[in-house]
């Protein structure tokens, strides 16, 4: 009889899928509510906790840290076992990461609603949460790198390089950016003064986008796309080159968030140039993904999830082109502080992050429980809802953003501003209504997926998957 140590640990993976989907529904619902508030501001009913300023960080933190990080933990824990041919290192610590992370997101979210906020974007949580995040993140690193250290196979597969970069760089960014002097139990002041604080914040902020929402999800892509396609990645060499180019160039791109601000111009120019260079590794990965899937077209007949991944690559291509373009100073001067930026973020968040996660979950969950997906038809409906919602969202924000940029900067012949800020914002209502509809459509799709996955898991346990023997040619003796 085989001992239990020869089976992968997948219970924690299923639990993380459930948390991730739950956060997706909650945080997207918060986003839809915020979209409605921008049309009908009285929807806050005079309650501080329902105000835009408090709900907005709940929405972003819920998506990035609740939905996104839970999905990354899910796929990292699943794939690192398969690519290392061992069970997760310290299973107890993996369970601790799973639950402790959810507790941080839950309590952190409540603290945001209560008004405790550092005012640093995507790093709004106050110092006790920052310390807790650092501890759990280090534990995540111990589980992940411990599994790699105890692997039975020599090569470290490319997805693990991306997950590894995610863990190391996010730890570095989070700890450095969160350094602060606590004043009370839930109030602190940043260690960095003035413009330096802004530079550190956007070094963190853009690389959170880079190493978490891009790098981490590329780890997901590199493992699950070849699995979906049933063939190896098109060019392994290109994936390794793209990894190092990505890691090297992304870390410099943050200052493009601070164009025309009180930081040295050369720092802005550096951020702009490195952002443009980033296009090369980003598109190398996109081409690698597209070419991998191009020979696996028969799979589209049987795999409803593959469509999500194919489309996520198209939106990845869009977002990674749009970002460098918006980092060019002469474009940024018009686009910055407009809704085009919101549209750009959502072309990445909805089109890339959410789509690839949905595709992965539809692939993963039936395999985890050893059954079939409850409804392929619902998954197909979800696909079209997700596509329609994303397109409508992007288009409405393009329209709003370009109009805002033009109107804000328009001057008459004597150099006076032609339009008032208040009037411009009042004229945005139709675009915001379109965005609300887009958000509702996308949320509806996510709820369908939650139901579909719930019915797939219902009454089932994680199936026991035996760890296969390693080919001696690749094994660690």
């Amino acid at each position: 009889m085989k001992s239990s140590s020869e089976f992968y640990l997948d219970d924690v993976v299923i639990r993380l899928v459930q948390f991730s989907v739950a956060w997706a529904v909650v945080a997207m619902a918060a986003g839809v509510y915020l979209a409605a508030e921008l049309i009908w501001p009285t929807l806050d009913f005079g309650q501080y906790w329902l105000s835009f300023g408090r709900l907005r960080p709940l929405h972003t933190n819920g998506i990035i840290f609740g939905f996104g990080v839970s999905a990354l933990m899910t796929t990292a824990f699943y794939s690192v076992q398969r690519t290392s041919h061992v069970k997760l290192f310290t299973p107890g610590l993996a369970w601790f990461c799973c639950y402790a992370w959810q507790l941080i997101v839950l309590l952190g979210g409540l603290s945001l609603l209560a008004g405790y906020n550092t005012s640093k974007e995507y790093a709004e949580l106050e110092w006790p949460f920052d310390i807790a995040i650092a501890i759990v993140w280090v534990c995540f690193g111990i589980v992940f790198f411990g599994t790699i250290a105890t692997r039975r196979i020599k090569p470290i597969y490319i997805s693990n390089w991306f997950y590894g970069a995610l863990i190391i760089v996010i730890a570095m960014l989070h700890i450095v950016n969160s350094l602060a002097i606590p004043a009370t139990a839930l109030k602190s002041y940043s260690l960095y003064p003035g413009a330096q604080d802004a530079v550190v914040q956007w070094w963190y902020g853009h690389n959170a986008v880079g190493f978490l929402l891009t790098g981490g999800f590329l780890g997901m892509l590199y493992y699950f796309l070849p699995k979906h396609a049933g063939r190896p990645i098109w060019s392994y060499r290109l994936s390794v080159v793209a990894f190092w180019a990505f890691v090297y160039s992304y870390i410099w791109a943050g200052p493009h968030h601070l164009h025309y601000n009180a930081i040295p111009e050369w720092v802005q120019s550096l951020g702009m140039v490195m952002s443009i260079i980033l296009l090369a590794p980003s598109w190398a990965t996109m081409i690698n993904g597209i070419m991998t899937v191009s020979d696996a077209w028969e799979k589209l007949r049987t795999d409803p999830a593959l469509k999500f991944i194919v489309l996520s690559l198209a939106f990845y291509g869009l977002a990674t082109f749009e970002g460098p373009m918006m980092a060019i100073r002469s474009v940024n001067v018009v686009s910055h502080f407009t809704d085009w930026t919101i549209g750009h973020v959502h072309s990445g968040a909805l089109g890339w992050n959410a789509m690839i996660t949905y595709g992965t979950f539809y692939f993963l969950v039936p395999r985890l429980v050893g059954g079939e997906l409850y409804s392929v038809r619902l998954a197909n409906v979800h696909f079209w809802l997700a596509l329609a919602g994303t397109m409508l969202y992007i288009m409405s924000m393009w329209g709003a953003g370009v109009s805002q940029g033009l109107l804000w900067l328009s001057v008459d012949q004597i150099g006076e501003l032609s339009f008032s800020f208040k009037d411009i914002m009042a004229s945005m209502t139709p675009y915001y209504a379109l965005r609300l509809i887009a958000g509702i459509i996308f949320l509806l799709g996510t709820i369908l997926m939650a139901y579909n996955l719930y019915k797939t898991i219902q009454g089932r346990q994680a199936s026991k998957v035996e760890i296969p023997a390693v080919n001696p040619a690749y094994g660690i003796s």
Partner: protein, 204 residues
């Protein structure tokens, strides 16, 4: 190019796109013939409508007063618009032809040119909305039209280029990626030109 396929492209593709795609699958038209006799005339519509609309009503961006520009400025913008559209159509046809090898589709450039023209045709016709250049009204007209065009792209590739529907779906998705990039490039290019002094007077 036979007169029959020309008629299909000209009229039937608007209301019977599938039969137009089926007809297209039987011929290999000349790319220059498609471009000069058909596509170019369609591509003229949006800039002409935009010019007429902007001269009469100004750009209506939602604020109380429309944004008005000199006629010469508007003519320059319209010529730029036409050049970008021609570049967009030709480059998309070339890219589609290049992608066809990967997806086992027909590689006749003329057929790709005709297919992209059929796909873009509803957008060219819907650009009649430019006659009243209110951004939101134009979006309301052009977004559903764009969805229809995307449907034509996904539907048309497997039929006109004779590839299995699944491979056609992959090829169409790759082209959507390119078209999204082209669309956002147009926005970026416009902003770059505005900042450089072409177009509306901006305080930058």
């Amino acid at each position: 190019m036979s007169q029959a396929i020309f008629n299909y492209l000209l009229f039937r593709s608007l209301y019977e796109p599938v039969s137009a795609f089926e007809q297209l699958a039987k011929v290999d038209p000349s790319p220059a013939g498609i471009l000069l006799r058909y596509s170019l005339w369609l591509l003229l519509l949006p800039p002409v409508f935009a010019f007429i609309g902007a001269t009469n009503f100004g750009w209506r961006l939602g604020a109380a007063e429309p944004l008005r520009m000199e006629t010469s400025e508007l003519a320059l913008i319209s010529v730029g618009y036409l050049l970008v559209l021609v570049f967009g159509l030709v480059s998309t046809a070339l890219i589609s032809c290049w992608m066809a090898k990967t997806y086992g589709a027909n590689t006749s450039l003329g057929r790709h040119m005709a297919l992209i023209t059929i796909v873009g045709q509803p957008l060219a016709v819907a650009s009649v909305a430019h006659l009243f250049p209110h951004v939101f009204i134009n979006m309301l007209v052009l977004i559903p039209t764009m969805i229809w065009s995307m449907y034509l792209l996904y539907k048309g590739i497997p039929i006109a280029l004779q590839t299995p529907p699944e491979r056609g779906m992959l090829m169409a998705s790759s082209l959507v990626g390119w078209l999204l990039v082209a669309a956002v490039s147009l926005l970026g290019l416009s902003m770059g030109l505005w900042v450089a002094g072409v177009g509306p007077l901006l305080g930058v």
